[in-house]
Symmetry: C2
DNA sequence: ATGTGTGTACTATGCCACATAGTACGCATA
DNA sequence: TATGCGTACTATGTGGCATAGTACACACAT
């Protein structure tokens, strides 16, 4: 379900947060699904329970999951989370696009890339 | 010319590398322009010369600048650098777009974002 | 009541990247 | 010669990250 990339420069707890965010937003983990227990995940990934706990704490603060003492952690049904996640992604995209524009990347290359991924026909080529 | 953002999680030397990469690729720093000296920049930014030196070392290894002992560091005229930088950026963009698609972002939002940044018409660009 | 599994909190420790401080050397140029 | 340049080296301090270990409160099945 979850894996760690030790080549990734980001800390482990952050990778876990990001991974679960995606799984939840995409609906692979439906609302009220029980999350793997802190200790269980720690055993499987061969890392310290504290690290998982830290990730879960962040996920809870962000509204992705909710925790119940003695029972476990569960996926939140909060719909706003998904929208907020999309919003953040769009801001990230905008930042990257600005960077590319400053680099001098031509818009045609960008449009081609967008078409390739989203497989759409853009309204019309700007004339 | 150069500034540091201490809010940025990236290390200082990496920010400097990125900043100069942009300035060089955009042509703001033309080939054979002399780079600010290590000690001078260190004084202005109130950081250690070693940190600047580290950044310059990376920039040289990547082909953005070349250093001459006793004289200084200068902007490289290597054209391949610019193209390679664009190439890397496009790959980064593609990765982000896939992520957004998986998140369920609708293509219209993406198209709007692209248009907003790159503009509808793009006849002339800075040269 | 007991045992097991859960989240949570806390302290202590080690590691490592980063940045700094200080010094020194070789080289180019005025 | 004096100055400024890049470069190299050692030593030190700091902070984030991860670990180790322990402990507590709670839910649930037995």
């Amino acid at each position: 379900m979850i894996s760690i990339d030790y080549q990734d420069r980001r800390p482990i707890y952050e990778q876990i947060v990001e991974r679960y965010q995606t799984l939840i937003v995409r609906g692979i983990l439906p609302p009220d699904t029980q999350m793997p227990s802190v200790r269980q995940t720690a055993l499987e990934l061969k890392i310290n329970p504290n690290t998982i706990s830290k990730a879960y704490g962040i996920l809870e603060r962000e509204g992705f999951i909710y925790s119940v003492k003695g029972r476990g952690s569960f996926v939140s049904g909060n719909q706003n989370v998904r929208d907020r996640k999309k919003q953040i992604w769009l801001e990230k995209l905008e930042g990257l696009l600005f960077e590319g524009r400053d680099l001098g990347v031509d818009s045609a290359s960008v449009a081609a890339c967008v078409d390739r991924v989203f497989g759409i026909k853009r309204k019309e080529e700007q004339s």
